[in-house]
């Protein structure tokens, strides 16, 4: 056993946390920068833009690192969103707590004041919660209005992409004036632009301007050149719909949707009606258009189904993804049924099975000879003797194969969905017998097929009975929206449809292999955001409103704590009495530390979105808002008003903001507050730790290592 004390003033654990969290700084907000994580030993690298994947690929051998990983994984498991917020706040609050320690604030005071402060904030921000029906009402009215602007905005957006170095910022009023008259005329190029609109959507999450294919429009170029030239940030324009950066691009986006839907979704266009959650999905996706579009199609489909069957309106377990490499991102779409990738050999079976009704078999184990259900103990001491050996009888493996095939042929099974692995030999034999076998099928898919075609999963083929089989399915090669069949690589996408199956597959396509994981992660994040919002029945006003209110609330608390009158008023039975007295002395320092977390959060988000030029400018902007909020008397009313109008930076430089329009940016309530709480809990847990006790065989290693002087051995 070895034992190490952690220096109280320069708390090692907190420093480790702060250092680790620094890596996630650019992942904050709707405009994330990518990171390459390179493994020096293998030279392999990973492209990442989420906190989970980043932390997964970091070296976390320290105890604090382990705890950070555990915290982030727990948030990911529970919510699938809020991890970068968590990571950032861990860093910000670690730093703030370190500063408190420097000022000799006792640990117990930091712990109690900070956790009370956070609780108080969580109660305070409840006034920024909006119920889903209210949100929908607001979103629909604004979406109708925005249609008027759609031509204008898409035009201007496209212009800014023509000359990436030409972006407009300060002198924008001129370009606005120039653009509005254009809108009144009907230019033939407009329609031309829209036909290409699917290419637009690829831009959203990714700053890859190089991939944009866009006809050059001389006229619009001339319009732009008349405006002020700013070279600061061309990636500012990739953000169309953000919590922090509210331009009118949202409306542009809805116009694209209307135009491109026919080709983008494999299904015929679902009507995007006002009373659905499609707009909510958009408001929660913070600017990622590809995912939003997919999500809106899913929502529309599921709502239609829900109206018929009365099931729940948004069912997350009926969504699966299929990742297809080799097609541009604009080919992403949603299809009903199950799409998966199969080998080219199996694709030949599909050609045979096409247009035939299928008999479907579901298996919830492996399809191999030696598979036994979980908990089955094989006996090792059974010997089989063969009394009359004959040459015709082959080995037991062949025997099993032929018996399996006999069963399958007897029941005329054409399609087998297997939860686990499939025996290679059997796969080959099935192909020759025109039976399609698909392995590693998830539990949700099996269940959906069970519901859709009436099949029941079995563990062993010997269990099989005709009533366990499902019928009525159809299989075909999946074709992209332009009718292109996939001959892209080694694997071929196939689509299995059953009448009435609730399953939807989101086809996620990209040409860049390293982005595949990233696109899938993002898609699921948005799915879960909508899921949580609908489950909770409420959302937060987004765009930094919540954080700003927390800031102003904490400032008010800090001011109150300096007034002596309030000290005895509180009934503090939980903390020891002396703590209450000590708190008053340090309370304002600790509360400021808590506030600094959100302050840094807001400023980094503003910087990341390139809406402000520097951190200093961001702090000034935040300060200005805080002052206005305080002067206004009721900060929550001020924030509600301001953020409904346009967010943090409205009015200052943005040309497209329509003051009368709703903001349409929302956040999950519980996920956000839990991320705060988890971040603070982690920081306080590490803060209260004063020693490490290292167990196990490392004692001798530590004795001989260079750090041995730090350790005590009993």
């Amino acid at each position: 056993m070895a034992f190490r004390e952690v220096n109280a003033r320069r708390h090692v654990g907190l420093q480790q946390l702060s250092a680790l969290a620094l890596a996630g700084r650019t992942l904050l907000g709707p405009m994330k920068s990518y990171k390459f994580v390179v493994d020096e030993s293998t030279n392999q690298s990973v492209l990442t833009c989420s906190a989970v994947r980043l932390i997964e690929s970091l070296d976390l051998s320290s105890a604090a690192g382990q705890l950070l990983n555990e915290t982030i994984q727990a948030q990911n498991k529970e919510f699938k969103t809020g991890m970068s917020t968590l990571l950032f706040l861990v860093g910000a609050w670690s730093n703030a707590v370190l500063e408190c320690l420097q000022q000799n604030v006792p640990v117990s005071v930091i712990v109690s004041v900070m956790s009370e402060g956070l609780n108080s904030c969580c109660e305070k921000v409840q006034c920024l919660q909006l119920s889903i029906p209210d949100v929908n009402k607001g979103l629909c009215s604004s979406s109708v209005r925005t249609n008027i602007f759609e031509n204008k905005t898409s035009q201007i957006r496209s212009n800014s992409f023509l000359n990436p170095q030409v972006c407009f910022q300060k002198g924008i009023s001129t370009s606005e004036e120039a653009a509005v008259p254009r809108n009144t005329h009907s230019y033939p190029e407009d329609s031309c632009n829209f036909s290409n609109s699917c290419l637009f959507s690829t831009l959203t999450g990714f700053g890859s301007i190089a991939s944009l294919v866009k006809p050059v429009d001389g006229k619009s170029k001339s319009v732009i050149s008349g405006s002020g030239v700013m070279t600061s940030s061309c990636n500012k324009k990739k953000l169309s719909h953000s919590r922090y950066f509210n331009t009118l691009a949202k409306s542009n986006f809805s116009s694209q949707l209307g135009n491109s839907e026919g080709c983008l979704s494999g299904q015929s266009a679902y009507p995007c009606e006002c009373n659905d959650f499609g707009h909510l999905a958009m408001a929660l996706s913070h600017g990622n258009q590809t995912s939003t579009k997919l999500l809106q199609n899913i929502v529309a489909y599921q709502q239609q189904r829900a109206e018929c069957s009365g099931s729940s309106q948004f069912n997350i377990t009926e969504i699966v993804t299929c990742c297809l490499l080799g097609l541009p991102e604009s080919y992403s779409c949603v299809c009903s049924g199950f799409i998966t990738l199969v080998s080219p050999e199996q694709a030949t079976v599909i050609k045979y099975l096409q247009d035939k009704p299928l008999w479907i078999l579901l298996m919830d184990g492996d399809l191999t000879e030696h598979y036994r259900h979980l908990g089955f103990n094989r006996s090792r001491n059974v010997r089989t003797i063969l009394e009359h050996p004959s040459l015709q009888e082959g080995r037991s493996g062949d025997l099993w194969l032929s018996s399996v095939l006999d069963i399958l042929k007897y029941f005329e099974v054409n399609l087998i969905l297997v939860k686990g692995n499939v025996c290679e030999k059997l796969m080959e034999r099935c192909i020759t017998n025109n039976i399609l076998v698909i392995g590693s099928v998830s539990h949700n898919v099996l269940r959906a097929f069970g519901e859709g075609c009436g099949a029941q999963p079995v563990s062993y083929l010997t269990q099989l009975d005709a009533r366990y089989l499902g019928s009525g399915g159809q299989v075909e090669l999946w074709r992209a929206c332009d009718g292109r069949a996939m001959e892209l690589g080694e694997l071929v996408p196939v689509r299995i449809k059953v009448q009435g199956i609730p399953l939807l597959t989101a086809m996620l396509t990209t040409t860049v292999a390293s982005k595949m994981q990233l696109i899938e992660d993002q898609f699921w994040t948005f799915v879960y955001r909508l899921h949580h919002a609908l489950n909770e029945g409420k959302v937060f006003l987004g765009g930094g409103a919540v954080e700003l209110l927390c800031l102003s609330h904490i400032q008010m608390l800090a001011e109150q704590s300096l007034k002596p009158a309030s000290t005895n008023a509180e009934k503090e039975f939980h903390s020891p009495s002396w703590l209450a007295a000590a708190s008053t002395e340090y309370k304002s320092v600790v509360l400021q530390a808590l506030a600094s977390g959100w302050n840094r959060y807001l400023s980094v988000v503003l910087c990341n979105t390139a809406k402000v030029a520097s951190g200093f400018e961001a702090y000034t902007l935040i300060k200005c808002h805080l002052k206005k909020a305080a002067d206004c008397g009721s900060p929550s009313a001020y924030i509600l008003k301001e953020f409904r109008r346009g967010g943090m930076v409205q009015g200052s430089s943005d040309p497209f903001t329509d003051p009368g329009e709703g903001l349409n940016v929302y956040d999950n309530v519980t996920a956000k507050m839990e991320a705060w709480r988890r971040a603070l809990d982690l920081v306080l847990l590490v803060l209260q730790t004063d020693a490490e006790i290292i167990t196990g065989p490392r004692r001798n290693q530590l004795l001989n290592s260079y750090v041995s002087s730090e350790f005590m051995f009993l």
Partner: protein, 572 residues
């Protein structure tokens, strides 16, 4: 041929306590344990240094388990504290800190150890007699008709575990739940020997603490796809659900003898015959109108399918720990053979339904007469959940001990300082005949008594982890905490607001003095009084039985260690 090695001679160490290394190790150990003590205690990260699971805790049981001490003297100490924890599961740190302090303080007196031991035994008996007497000023009786005292007990335990990371509202929520769960396990109609029921913890990690709930009956976790929707359970004509409980594996594997082998002819499948046997069992169960089959181990998928088709709910892999409460709750006897079993083994249930939380699915068994309940315990992360689970187990044990002996001691250091001032008072007023009886002089007695009191007070002082002062009052002998930097203030009643346990406040002048200061001469102590007003809400309370046992273990272990005259170590 193996090499024969000569045996090494044993190592003889005389007077182990005079060695420096023992002192150093003892003071490090004391420092570690002291820093863990109380609601503001510092946490320790226990891990293997190689990126393994990190346990953040201030629990004595975990810390002592991981501290692999090498010196025999320390081993004696940790072993007896661990034994104490395994019996009463509370007051481990109190015991360990007191024991270390006693050894150190007694060592400094430099008497013959047998004299010290005699006197300390006498002091211990004074303490225990006082604690057990009606006149004791630091204990309160627990009234089970008023839940407030029980809440105080549980709340004090939860608050003393900072690694659970609970907020005030969460502590209140859990306190209510734990008391509720405990009361569900208390039988309503007590006959001659009452047996408490059981509360099963259902772990739900990653959720908010306030999502925790108590269910009467049992929750059995099952994979979602195994249950028919909606759940239809067959009932008997008398509208109860019959349950069969199997503790034997129904997975269809063969009886596995350790040695020897079975030879079968080609074409005969033992598995198939075993499965046939299982399906026969299934038919019998269906004929006997069983509604629910629960198996400790695995049920063969074919049998499950058969049962499902016959509207029998089957739950498998419930584990050994669930078998006892299941059989207690349903009145069924676990069936240990699939070849023959009688219908007398079956039990009954009032209702069965399904519940789901987070991503988990459960079958909820609702009994007719509940003595078994399930506590779904949630906390945000693995580390904090583990800590919370241990806190719960401590609280459950404490409640069980309290129902046996409905007393509680004032917490927050007040019992320690109160006892110390009682002993100081007693040791001044002891009759000469009692000195003769223990064969010592009055001076000797008072020196040992002073060391004993200082050890007790040092435990109270261990509650304070930021620089600050600890006062005690002359009237009640309670313990008061004051933040640092205020000692020069003239009016001390401005500084202190409430004593450690929360029973006294600063309204009357209690004549405070600094505890354990080197400068102030020990004031002549009168017998400490019992607080007149007994407000029962929001007190810090400790378990009576656990603390008494801790006191006893600490003094006796310290005596044992003082008595060590040599260590003989076998070096082979």
């Amino acid at each position: 041929m193996s090499r024969v090695e000569a045996k090494k001679p044993s190592l003889y160490i005389s007077e182990p306590l005079t060695k420096d290394i023992v002192h150093q190790s003892l003071s490090v150990l004391r420092g570690v344990l002291k820093s863990c003590y109380g609601p503001a205690g510092r946490l320790k990260q226990l891990h293997n240094g190689m990126g393994g699971y990190v346990c953040t805790t201030s629990r004595s049981s975990a810390v002592l388990r991981c501290l692999s001490v090498s010196h025999p003297v320390l081993k004696v100490l940790t072993a007896s504290v661990q034994n104490h924890i395994s019996r009463v599961s509370d007051c481990g740190l109190f015991t360990a800190i007191l024991c270390c302090s006693l050894i150190e303080n007694f060592k400094n007196i430099n008497f013959l150890s047998c004299t010290v031991i005699k006197i300390s035994k006498h002091l211990l008996s004074l303490c225990t007699d006082y604690l057990k007497s009606e006149a004791c000023g630091c204990r309160v009786s627990v009234d089970f008709s008023n839940l407030e005292t029980l809440f105080c007990l549980v709340r004090s335990i939860l608050m003393s575990k900072p690694a659970c990371m609970l907020s005030k509202t969460e502590i209140d929520h859990l306190t209510t739940l734990i008391v509720k769960a405990f009361l569900l396990t208390v039988p309503c109609h007590v006959e001659t020997n009452a047996v408490l029921g059981k509360c099963i913890i259902v772990p739900v990690k990653g959720r908010r603490v306030v999502d925790s709930t108590v269910f009467p009956g049992l929750l059995l976790e099952t994979p979602e796809n195994q249950l028919a929707k909606p759940l239809s359970v067959k009932r008997t004509p008398s509208n109860i659900i019959k349950i069969a409980l199997f503790c034997v594996s129904m997975s269809g594997d063969l009886f596995n003898p350790e040695e020897g082998s079975i030879t079968v002819r080609h074409g005969i499948s033992l598995e198939m015959s075993e499965l046939d046997q299982l399906l026969n069992v299934g038919r019998q169960l269906v004929n006997d109108e069983i509604g629910l089959v629960v198996c400790q181990k695995v049920i063969h998928p074919s049998l499950k399918q058969y049962l499902k088709e016959n509207h029998v709910v089957a739950v498998d892999r419930v584990g050994l720990s669930m078998m006892e409460p299941l059989s207690q709750m349903t009145g069924s006897k676990p069936i240990a053979s699939i070849h023959s079993f009688s219908p007398s083994c079956y039990g009954s249930l009032k209702d069965v339904c399904t519940e789901s939380f987070a991503s988990k699915h459960f079958v909820h068994l609702i009994p007719n007469d509940t003595l078994v309940c399930s506590l779904m315990l949630c906390n945000r992360s693995e580390t904090t959940w583990d800590e919370l689970k241990c806190a719960y187990e401590t609280a459950e044990r404490v409640l069980q001990l309290t129902i046996k002996e409905p007393l509680a001691l004032l917490g927050g250091g007040c019992t320690e300082t109160h006892l110390a001032s009682y002993i100081r008072h007693k040791s001044c007023n002891l009759s000469t005949s009692s000195f003769k009886a223990i064969d010592c002089s009055q001076t000797q007695y008072q020196l040992v008594a002073d060391a004993f009191c200082r050890s007790l007070e040092s435990v109270a002082c261990s509650l304070n982890h930021d620089d600050g002062d600890i006062f005690t009052d002359v009237v009640y002998g309670h313990c008061w905490f004051v933040p640092s930097g205020f000692s020069s203030v003239s009016n001390w009643s401005d500084l202190v607001s409430k004593c450690g346990c929360g029973i006294n406040d600063n309204t009357q002048n209690l004549n405070w003095r600094v505890l354990q200061s080197q400068f102030s001469s020990p004031v002549l102590q009168s017998c400490p009084k019992e607080p007149s007003v007994k407000a029962t809400d929001f007190l810090t309370l400790d378990c009576f039985a656990a603390k008494c046992s801790g006191l006893q273990v600490a003094v006796e272990t310290a005596n044992l260690i003082l008595d060590l005259s040599c260590i003989i170590e076998d070096q082979n």
